[in-house]
Structure formats: structure tokens, C-alpha cells
Assembly symmetry: C2
Homo-oligomer: 580 residues x 2
């Protein structure tokens, strides 16, 4: 395969000698510590192209390529890593390590305890995500790597990424946190606890059949899939029969699938390691470790990309949004995308295109920032929102400002402002494809409905907030406008004028809902759920305590203001407002 | 306690003698069969007040009251059953049986096998929900009961209710199906399978510690609670410490809670029974048993009340809605309410008020139908929708018709039509409190957004569909109108006229968004997301292929039509339309 990294080999090196052990978070010491890792691509001369990859619960260092010509299954993230792939090994040097406590080469519960000359088993000390990251850092020290272009990981891998960004802020240029959380909730802890309970049952009964570990893995698998994906994949299908067996053997397809997953896991994984790793996951809690999520993120200097999946119910979009809100509250550089996917938590392994486009675009821009070029924005053919001429809005923005574009679309206004006025840009956009486009242009963009989440930005975070042709489409314009007046020193708003003479005449003489060039929709299919005139807007400003600093009524594409009775002749208007 | 049924006793009687065993769905025979049951209240002279209660997976016949003066815990649904309670034992005679295969008195895996003189254990035949219902029927035969006012049950109890309605349609006047499903999906089967796997592990290892059953129960408990309720109840709290223990004991509160639930279940339940009961649940599938859900429900003659809970992710609202849609497609009498609750599946045990109001109102009306009284409807003070005078709409409806009120509110229009025109009434309403009110008035009402679900009604199901002051609040009026034209022979629509002269003048001379008596909102807080005039509506009719049969433009509360230039002078209009 052209896009494969080819035949790879897991290397194991010692990073902590036996005679100077590492002190762990639990207080105990551990040494020697070996680390298993793989590396793909080449480090460049400036040594600024290193990507560290962190794996999830049951992963290992073998992320890409094959171990031999006859190897049937490539590494666990081969879909993402390789020449020309999202994590492009033609450009980047990618390192993946088996984490501390794993059972695939790195020191863990199955390693030999130097004191007893037997495997540690349950004498292995308890480890944390922070311990894992420490050990990864020791490996990088050994390899002479001092800067990470990106640390990337999904699920429990994402937790390691977060820890990296907080513990080694100067080393991590960017942190890519996928389908992760800053702490498990009660439900996720409960699933882990039941899995451990099943494993411990085997221990108590002295059974070595591995059924406890299999049970734990089955529970895990249910939480990795969404209800929808299970329904579509298995439904109520029976494995080998038309009718029910009326016995205790597995007969539904989903049962035999889980049996298989459980059994194959027992063959490749260790029950003790599973206990330690799930404990490390349960213990992970940035809020309690640093006092609050905001305090935790205050330490970070990286650019962040957070990605969640719409159907993930193990580490939910809401948990990713909680982190986004804390990062925003800390005025960090953050982009966020909630990828629409039916695959649940496992989507981070199953959505190479949507996820790959985000990752490649984000990493590319961290490595070599995008040069914005001024382009004249035209309203896209099929778009529902008619955009005003951006040039007029641009003329209102002071160079060097911090600008939030609320409903930023493909980011062109922000790019123009970056190119012409050297602004610092942030966007909010509800459309996943447009968010991906913004990320590919190097913009910080948050994927969400603009009616949610503004409350997390600190007072006066921005010099300007721009709301272009969006106000009339909001369910609750008052809440949004009020929040923006708090968040930004000035709010620039444009909207179509519903009291334009064509609308007036259409209703007065024709008795019909307004349709003009700027309001081209029919009454029943318009995205404009509110209609307002210039006069209505000015009254609205009074009501919410906004001062009108500037008012630019516009006809067509003329860049000059309308001077005669604007509420009649303007097709649209741009206002600059601020809090009284 | 006044509202308790007092001291109760579980009775056990034989319903299948050993010498003429019952043939089960699996093909095997079982006998003798004993049934444990309790009964509360008194049967009346006409013997028309009997309610059969079906319990869930781990329940038993002891639903209400106490077994002795010193009994600390009343029956499992004591909050709902008793004098003056939702299931009022002053009015009704309530019977609850332990189902076949249970371990609380009715014959099950722990009963003595007459052939071996030992307990059946895993030699017990496999049972189905249908077998359980057969045995309940045999008990009622013994008791001389031939009519059931209602069969009521939650979760697996709801499955028995469904089976009752299909297997004994002439006996069941009403079926109340709470937090149930017509069949488990792959995810629910998976959870059951993992639980059985844990129990079978104990069997394989010869362990009698009961940890397998405990594990199964822990998994169950996670699925009975919602993520939200677990988060609020336990969060990440630690049981006995400020800091982590760094050992394998349970330390998070949620872990110790599950330990306790698992342990106490082992003390009161039997592992073999658990295997059989979960199998019965997994096997339950009305669609496959009868060919389709519609074919299944075609057998039923009961009135139905279905109730789901918004946060239930085990048996979801969507699964209840699937049944509602099938019932609606069969033109059955059905009411449905999706109760907003944070408690997940367990809500059927934890929402006595919301659930109780529905149950008591529904049962009361099945027992003694409500006499509708004509009341003049006034627009409620705080309501967001301005209702037109119902009398005008009523005058358009032919007596004896079948009428669907889309957005029926408190049901007054339907009640007036019932009282004056003897119509058959159905409603759709999005507000839970109003749905409850309708159920209490004996109306068939479906709790949902009117923009969803119309596609399930057969063509021409109704003589009239009424859409009173709702069209302009819909996101997609075209879809709704088109569906209604298919579903009803005539669609009666009323809406405020946006081209009334006050609106025209307001916009033309004042340059403002319209505000009149019938459109009293401001541009930014109006629930009217669309504005239309009479002219707009007539064009719309052309577009969707509707014929205007009658047009009544109205001013104020005058019951006569406006004759002069209605698109200017009418404040609102009522149209009777039909499909061309």
C-alpha cells in the first residue's frame, strides 16, 4: 500500500533505571521502567515536526503499519497515519508509546518485580495519567526531543494529551483532544467498577478462565458503541437460527459479537493491567487536581483542538464543551468540532474523513501558519443567509483588535480582517463543514449554535463582536445581543431592513408578506424567524441598554451610507453598538 | 397511614394441576403451577372495577401495604396504590401477581420439580411474557374475574400489559403501558447478556458467592438510572475519604452504592430466576410474533395509555412513540405522555405525581366516561397563543365527525364539539400539563410536537383536522399542512392576518414590525415565526394543492364574516380546505 508506513518494529528502551526509581503520584516508587514505542516518518532538521500520539485503554505502541509482510491487521490508527494521510508521515515524525501500566512492552503489572523476581500482578503500584505522561516525557528526553508540534489522542489518549498540555506547557505547541473528558462522571466510573468487580470475582474464586476480563470488555464495548449503531449493526438478529433456541447459549447476534470481543480480548490483554488502567482513568480529574478546570487550563500555552462525536455517550459532547468553555474563559486559543457520527465513542477510530480533515488542517496551520488573503466575499449560491458586503464591516474595525465573528461561516470576514488589519480572530459557527473549513484556514472556531455558550466568555474579551445577517434568524435575539454587549466592547450588527419601501408597499398595497432581494424567501420557508426595521432595532438597543455609535444604512452593493429616510430606502443596515 | 391499604398478605393458589400441565411457548409442559398474588380494595357488585397490576423484572406480588405492623418497607408501588391514591383502592379492586418464573411464590426455577423432587434450577423450562400472561389469566379464572377495567405495568410489567391487550382483547377495557417497549433493542439485549454471562461464570466456576448475580444487578442499576441522575446523586464523591485510596476497594460513592445494590439483591433474589426472566424479556417481540406491530395491535380492543420518561435510555421515549405510531396507524384509541423526568427508567417508581395524575384521570374516564360540558373558551392569560373564538370553528364541523385537533391545548374545543356535535375526538399537544388535563377529561391525546408523527396516520383518518392559531408558529408549515390534507378530509385553519390595516399602516407609515391585538408581540419575542396574510395563505393553498372550501375573515369577537376587502379588515381568518 502506498499510504502505509510499511513494516514497523516496536522498540523498547529503559527510561528509569532500577537504582533511581520514579516516584509516582500514589507516593510509591517504581523502577526500572521500560517504554515500548514506535516511530514513523522522519524528524526534520529544525526538529519542529514531532507529533506524539497517546493511545486509549486497550491500545499499544503499534499505531500504524504492519509488523511483517504477512501481518493481516495494521496498527490501531493506520487509517489516520501514513504518507499523505491526515497525520502525514511525509511531513511529520510520529511517535507512539505504550503507556505506563500497559501490557504491550512498557512496564506494567505483568513486568518482573525486581524485588521478588516474579511479575508484579496486584503488587504493582497504582498509576495515574500524570505518571503515564511523566514516563512519556522521559522517553522523549532519551530521544532528544524538546518540542512537540502536537500531542494527539482519543478517549483515554485525550486525557494524556490534556495532562501533557498542563504539565509541560512550554513543550507542547498544540494539543488535540479527541472524544475525551477532563474527568469521568458517575456513570462511566460505574461501568468501570462493574468491570473490575467481574475481574475480581475471578480472582476471589481462583478462576483463571478469564471470564471476568471478558465480562469487563463486553461492558466496555457496549459503552463504545451508540444505541443507534448497535441497533443498525445487530438489531434483534439471531446468529444461527430462524427461531429462538430456548436455552442459555448466546443466540442473538449482539451476544455472539460480545462473546467474541470478550474472548479475543482475554487472549491479548491482561486482567491485572485492566484493573490498573481503569483505576487511572477513574482517578483522572483536572478540576480536583488543579482546583478548577479554569485553573488547570490557566497553566496551558498550547493551541487546542477538541473534537467530540455527536453519538458518544461515554465521553459526551457536553464534557468536551465543558472543557471548551473553560478554555474560552481562560482566553486560550481553542477550536472545537462536534462531529456528527452514528458510531458513538468508537467514532474516533471510525471517522477518518471528518476527523482527518480537522486534524490535518489544524496541524498544518500550527506547523506553518496560513497566510490569509483578502477575497471579496460573495453570498454563496445555495446559502440561506444573505451576507452583506464584508468590506463595510471591515472598515469599522480598528487594526490589531480582537474580533469574535458570531456565525462566522467559512471565516472569510475574519481572514480579510487578518490580512488587512492584523486582527486576532475567533469564530462561532454551527455548520460542521464550515467549521472544518475555518480550522483548515488556521482560524480558532467553536462549533456550536451561537445562542449557546456566550456566557462563558469573560467581560470585554473582545474589541468587537460581529453579528452579520444572523440576528433575525435567532430564536432569542435579546439574550444573544445582551451577552455580546458584555463580551465585546463593540458589537457590529447587520440585518435586512424589513421596513424597506418594497416591503412596505408589498404589504400595504399587495397585502403580502415581504419579499425583496435581501428578503427573498416566502413566508413559510424563510430562515428569518424575526422581522425588524431600523426603527425596531433602535428601540431594541434602548431596551437592552445599548448605545448606537454608528449606523450605516445600505442600498444594494453601494459602499456608501443612505442619507435620505434610511428606514424606507435602506435594504439593510449595519450598526456599531456598545453597552451604555 | 390513612392512604395505606394496611396489613396485607400474599396468597398462593394452584392454577395448573400437576396432572394437566400447561404447554408453554417453548413447547415444553409445566405443572403444577402455583401463583402468588395480593389484592387490595373491594370488587363492586357489577364486577367492573378490577385492575390487574403487572410487576417488573425484580418485583413481586407485594405491591402495596405492609406485611406486618413492624414492616419497615411497604410494597413496591405503595406510592401509587391505596385509598385516595392514583390507583384508588376505595374505588377499584387491585390484583397483583408474582409472574411465572419469578422467585416470590409463583412457580419458578426454585420450585420443586415433581419428577426429581428437587428444585428445577436450570432444568426449568424457558418461559415467555405470553406464558406469564396465560398464568395470570388462569388465576383470574379461578377468582371468577371476567373483565379488567385496566391492566397496568411499568417496564417488563408494561410488556405483560401489551400481551394482555393482544391475547385477551375482549377482557381488557384499558391497557396502561409505562416505560415499556414492544421489543428490546440490541443494546438492552447486550446488557442482559453480559449480566447472564456474569451469572454463568459463577456456575462454571462452581462459585456460590453470588457475585455473578450481583454484577448483573449492578449493570441493571446503571441502566435504570439516567446519566444525569447518577451525576447529581453521586458525582465523583468518595465514600470515606478526602483523597484516593490507591487500592482496589470501592472508593467512589457510586461504587459503594452499586456494591450495596448488588449484595442486597443476592440476598433477596435467585440467580437462576434472573437468567430465565431476562431471557423472557429478550424474547419478547410483538413485531416478530404477529408479523408487524400494526398487525399485533390490530387484535387489540382496549383503550391505551402509554407513558414514557424523557430521560429513560433503557426503554426510550422513541420506543413508546413507535408503539403510539402503530396504534395510531390502526386507528386505535390511544393517549400518550412523555413525562419530563431526570430519573431515567426508574422514574416509573419515582414520579408519583405526574404519573399518578395521568393514571387516575385515565382510569376514571374508562370506568365512568366524562360528560363534556360546553364552555366558552377564553384565551388564557399567560398563554402565548391567542385562540380565535372556538364557536366559529365549531359551526363548521358536521355532527358525528371524527376530529383531530392539532395543538389541542386543554381540549376545550374538542369537549365543546363532543358536547354539542357528538364528535369522536383526538388531539395532539406538546405541553405535558395540558396533555394531563386532556387525559383527565377523557380525551385521546398524543403528547408531541405537532410537526412530528403525522405521517403515521392513515389517509383520510379524520373528517376534520383543526389547526387553530398554530400555523404561523410552526417551523415548517408546508409539511404539516400537506400531511393534514392527506390525513383529514377537511382541514380547518385559523391564523392572524398579517395584512390587517393596522399592520399595513404600522409598517407603511411607522416603519415597524406589526403589533396588533391579535399580534401583540414584539419582533424579538414573538412565538409567531412566520407572518402571513389571507392572500399569502390562498397562494400557499394553490402551491400545496389545497382547495379553499370556505373562508371566514373575522374582526374581534364578531361571529360574522367580514365582507369588505377582508385582507385589509380581517384581524384573523378561518379557512376550510381540502385536498384538490
Amino acid at each position: 500500500m502506498d499510504s502505509s508506513v510499511g513494516i514497523v518494529e516496536t522498540k523498547i528502551i529503559n527510561v528509569v533505571p532500577g537504582d533511581s526509581p520514579l516516584v509516582l503520584a500514589c507516593g510509591k516508587s517504581l523502577g526500572p521502567i521500560d517504554v515500548a514505542y514506535e516511530a514513523y516518518g522522519k524528524i526534520n532538521d529544525s526538529r519542529d515536526n514531532v507529533i506524539l500520539l497517546c493511545h486509549a485503554l486497550s491500545g499499544n505502541a503499534h499505531a500504524a503499519g504492519k509488523t511483517s509482510e504477512n501481518d493481516k491487521k495494521p496498527g490501531w490508527w493506520d487509517i489516520m497515519i501514513g504518507p499523505g494521510k491526515a497525520i502525514d508521515t511525509d511531513k511529520y515524525y510520529v511517535i507512539c508509546t505504550n503507556f505506563l501500566g500497559g501490557c504491550s512492552g512498557t512496564t506494567g503489572a505483568k513486568s518482573i518485580n525486581p524485588e521478588t523476581k516474579k511479575s508484579y500482578d496486584l503488587d504493582f503500584p497504582f498509576i495515574t495519567i500524570s505518571d503515564m505522561v511523566k514516563v512519556q516525557k522521559l522517553l522523549l528526553d532519551e530521544l532528544g526531543i524538546t518540542e512537540l508540534l502536537a500531542v494527539v489522542g482519543g478517549s483515554m489518549g485525550g486525557m494524556q494529551v490534556l495532562q501533557w498540555a498542563l504539565d509541560y506547557p512550554d513543550m507542547v505547541k498544540s494539543a488535540i483532544v479527541i472524544a475525551a473528558t477532563s474527568r469521568l462522571g458517575a456513570q462511566a466510573i460505574a461501568f468501570d467498577a462493574v468491570g473490575r468487580n467481574a475481574i475480581l470475582t475471578d480472582k476471589l474464586t481462583g478462576s483463571s478462565c478469564g471470564r471476568g476480563l471478558a465480562t469487563a470488555r463486553m461492558i466496555g464495548h457496549i459503552t463504545y458503541l451508540s444505541e443507534e449503531s448497535m441497533r443498525k449493526k445487530f438489531g434483534r438478529g439471531l446468529r444461527n437460527a430462524e427461531n429462538y433456541n430456548y436455552d442459555l447459549n448466546s443466540e442473538f447476534s449482539v451476544e455472539t459479537y460480545l462473546d467474541h470481543q470478550g474472548q479475543s480480548f482475554v487472549e491479548r490483554f491482561d486482567a491485572d493491567c485492566y484493573l490498573y488502567i481503569t483505576k487511572a482513568m477513574d482517578y483522572f480529574d483536572l478540576s480536583s487536581e488543579y482546583g478548577s478546570l479554569a485553573k488547570a487550563f490557566a497553566r496551558a500555552k498550547s493551541k487546542f483542538l477538541l473534537v467530540s462525536f455527536s453519538s458518544d455517550w461515554l465521553f459526551t459532547s457536553a464534557q468536551s464543551e465543558e472543557m471548551v468553555n473553560a478554555l474560552v474563559a481562560d482566553s486560550k486559543q481553542v477550536s472545537y468540532c462536534n462531529i456528527s457520527s452514528p458510531y458513538g465513542h468508537d467514532a474516533f477510530l471510525l471517522e477518518p474523513e471528518a476527523l482527518g480533515n480537522l486534524l490535518s488542517g489544524f496541524i498544518k496551520n500550527v506547523h506553518k501558519p496560513y497566510k490569509p488573503v483578502h477575497k471579496t466575499a460573495v453570498a454563496p449560491g445555495g446559502a440561506k443567509r444573505v451576507r452583506v458586503d464584508y468590506d463595510l464591516i471591515e472598515s469599522l474595525i480598528t487594526p490589531g483588535s480582537r474580533v469574535l465573528d458570531v456565525g462566522c461561516g467559512d471565516g472569510q470576514l475574519l481572514l480579510n480582517l487578518q490580512s488587512d488589519k492584523n486582527i486576532s480572530a475567533e469564530g462561532i459557527e454551527v455548520d460542521q463543514a464550515l467549521v472544518t473549513e475555518c480550522v483548515n484556514k488556521g482560524l480558532n472556531v467553536i462549533h456550536r449554535d451561537v445562542e449557546r455558550g456566550l456566557e462563558h466568555y469573560p467581560d470585554g474579551s473582545f474589541d468587537y463582536a460581529v453579528v452579520s445577517q444572523t440576528l433575525q434568524t435567532l430564536t432569542n435575539p435579546k439574550v444573544v445581543f445582551t451577552e455580546l454587549l458584555r463580551v465585546a466592547r463593540r458589537v457590529v450588527i447587520s440585518f435586512p431592513n424589513f421596513a424597506h419601501w418594497r416591503c412596505r408597499a408589498g404589504l400595504f398595497f399587495g397585502g403580502r408578506a415581504p419579499r425583496t432581494k435581501k428578503l427573498p424567501y416566502r413566508w413559510h420557508d424563510t430562515p428569518n424567524v424575526h422581522f425588524l426595521s431600523l426603527k425596531d432595532f433602535e428601540e431594541f438597543c434602548d431596551e437592552v441598554g445599548a448605545r448606537v455609535e454608528q449606523k450605516i444604512p445600505v442600498i444594494g452593493n453601494r459602499k456608501s451610507s443612505v442619507s435620505i429616510i434610511p428606514n424606507i430606502f435602506a435594504e439593510q443596515a449595519i450598526y456599531v453598538t456598545s453597552r451604555k
